[in-house]
């Protein structure tokens, strides 16, 4: 069995690249759609994979324009890891155009999805996307990785995909995934402890785009945002007024900017309400190696630390 799938892998390498090297000596070519998935893949694959991340650090996967180099990488890939749920608007056409033979794995498979915040009462104004908005997510919030429980599902899906593509390394992948899942569990405990330290009536903050639905659902911190789920929507005066009202009635106690969105609206709300901007939250992309969030674990730690600090400090 193992021999058979190894043969299949070797054959697929032959069709894509040139002559027969033993399959195990070649690293598995993995393409990740954006930085957070890239970080998961690196942790599971270790040095057995050659990883390419399409949308790099501080990049916005909602509006990314693929380059020819991306199609080249895609064509040579063995496994393509994507978030799915229409998070990467650019991806489907890139996969078709590059004629890749790789398996495209949607990591949100098996995740319990949430509807977008539009259906909640306090966000009712956000359904108004502009007509030319090509990146509308539809009814499901794709930012599932903002909950660590979901991140564990992502990791499991990645390990399964790697095992299917490279059976020889399966044990290594499983071991890496188990070790990384252990770290994620520790991280989750840390986040829950931090939330518990915040008084229950203070657990509301303002951010610039609605990317934290899963975080809110899993850990009980309410995120209010003047823009819709996608970075392309435009706010209405009613939304902004409502946010300011909420701050005035002491319902929201901190305000944050995100690494990939226009900060001006948030700055305006901050100056009108007198709240100080609590720092930068990382929602859809990691920072570069020198920033505060070069990995997923750092990102979650940075976000919860910033939230806790800003709420308790206010």
């Amino acid at each position: 069995m193992q021999k058979l799938s190894r043969l299949a892998f070797a054959l697929s390498v032959i069709t894509l690249i040139t002559p027969a090297l033993p399959a195990a000596a070649e690293p598995l070519n993995v393409v990740a759609s954006f930085s957070i998935i890239g970080d998961f893949a690196q942790n599971v694959g270790g040095d057995r994979i050659a990883l390419t991340t399409l949308v790099g650090h501080n990049g916005d996967a909602h509006v990314y324009e693929p380059k020819p180099a991306d199609a080249v990488v895609m064509a040579g890939a063995d496994v393509v890891l994507v978030n799915g749920l229409h998070f990467e608007g650019f991806l489907q056409r890139l996969v078709e155009a590059s004629a890749t033979k790789a398996v495209v794995v949607e990591l949100t498979k098996g995740v319990e999805t949430l509807a977008t915040a539009e259906e909640e009462v306090e966000h009712e104004g956000e359904a108004t996307h502009e007509a030319e908005d090509g990146h509308d997510h539809g009814a499901t919030d794709p930012h599932a990785f903002q909950s660590i429980a979901n991140a564990k599902i992502y990791v499991k899906n990645i390990a399964d995909a790697f095992c299917a593509a490279d059976a020889a390394g399966c044990d290594a992948y499983e071991a890496n995934a188990a070790a990384y899942t252990g770290k994620l569990e520790a991280l989750e405990a840390e986040v829950k402890a931090a939330v518990a330290a915040i008084p229950a009536d203070k657990r509301a903050v303002i951010t610039s785009h609605d990317a934290f639905g899963y975080f809110q659902h899993a850990y009980g911190i309410t995120f209010l945002a003047p823009e819709g789920v996608s970075t392309d929507a435009e706010a209405s005066a009613a939304d902004v007024a409502k946010l300011i009202e909420q701050v005035r009635h002491d319902k929201a106690s901190a305000i944050f900017v995100e690494n990939i969105t226009n900060q001006r609206l948030i700055e305006q709300i901050a100056s009108e309400t007198g709240l100080k901007i609590g720092g930068t939250l990382y929602s859809d992309a990691l920072s570069d190696a020198n920033g505060p969030a070069p990995t997923y674990i750092d990102m979650m730690r940075n976000n919860i630390g910033a939230i806790k600090g800003a709420i308790l400090g206010s």
Binding site: V63, A235, E272
Partner: protein
């Protein structure tokens, strides 16, 4: 009554700023829009929104995501494109629409090239273009100074501009001012558009420039009343749009522009030079 019309502006600072910013922009760009329309250059605004990309991208490459260098870069790119197109249409047989299309496409391609060199996937234009709900002090000052410069220039060059728009050959035959006035005017257009993009976004600055002017055209054929009427329509649309955005929770930019659009559609139907009234007069003339 008070609750509906006045209270939103008293209660919230951002509403006051939005009102002040959009009114100031109307003050300067509505008259400019009238001249643009009379010169048959109504689509310049949309072309300009693309033409400024290389300048904004160059500012981004040199200084990172800072608004001021990106705006100055955009202004330079806009001036180069407008002046280039103006010069070609003045000194060759090609008309302004074709030369503007050519220049803005070259500029846009250059911009995409520069952005791709850096390899960033942050949407530059998303960062550069503001929104009417998020006007800070700098943006307000920028719009106010643009309005000042525009009104002053219009006052100084008024007669030459009117002659240049209505009968450029006449102006050229009686004065050497024709060509310089044309370039001064193009400069004003770029200033209003790029400043407007930075403060309020593309939709609002192009829309407030063209829609009131196009609507006013159906009510009068003289330039001064047309400019005044465009101003009034612009002001009314800003107030109505912001109130609509506040009470009906609609996005603000589209709400303001749609208000102006309603005035435009009504003007097509009801204006003295519109569909219904001109039909009636035509009919009477034939039977007389």
């Amino acid at each position: 009554m008070y609750d509906y019309f006045i209270a939103p502006f008293i209660e919230f600072g951002f509403m006051q700023r939005a009102l002040a910013g959009s009114l100031l922009l109307s003050l300067s760009s509505c008259p400019v829009g009238v001249f643009l329309m009379l010169r048959r250059m109504s689509l310049t605004g949309d072309a300009m929104a693309h033409a400024i990309l290389p300048g904004a991208a160059a500012g981004f490459l040199l200084y990172g995501l800072e608004i001021v260098p990106m705006t100055i870069g955009g202004l330079i790119a806009g001036v180069v494109v407008a002046m280039g197109a103006g010069a070609v249409s003045r000194f060759t047989i090609q008309k302004e629409d074709a030369s503007l299309a050519a220049f803005y496409l070259i500029s846009l391609a250059l911009g995409v090239l520069i952005v791709s060199l850096r390899g960033s996937s942050v949407d530059l234009m998303h960062v550069l273009f503001g929104t009417v709900l998020a006007l800070n002090d700098e943006a307000l000052k920028l719009i106010a100074s643009i309005a000042g410069v525009t009104l002053l220039t219009l006052a100084v060059f008024w007669r030459a501009l009117v002659a240049e728009c209505l009968d450029p050959l006449f102006l050229r035959s009686v004065s050497r001012l024709g060509t310089p006035v044309h370039f001064v005017f193009l400069g004003l257009v770029v200033l209003n558009l790029v400043g407007g993009f930075q403060a309020l976004g593309t939709l609002l600055s192009v829309g407030l420039m063209m829609l009131p002017a196009a609507a006013a055209r159906f009510w009068t054929s003289r330039v001064e009343p047309m400019c005044l009427l465009a101003l009034v329509i612009g002001f009314a649309s800003c107030v109505a749009g912001l109130l609509l955005s506040y009470h009906a929770s609609l996005p603000s930019g589209p709400a303001i522009i749609l208000s102006a659009g309603v005035v435009y559609l009504a003007s097509i139907l009801l204006g003295p030079r519109g569909v219904l009234r001109s039909r009636v007069r035509h009919h009477r003339h034939r039977t007389a």
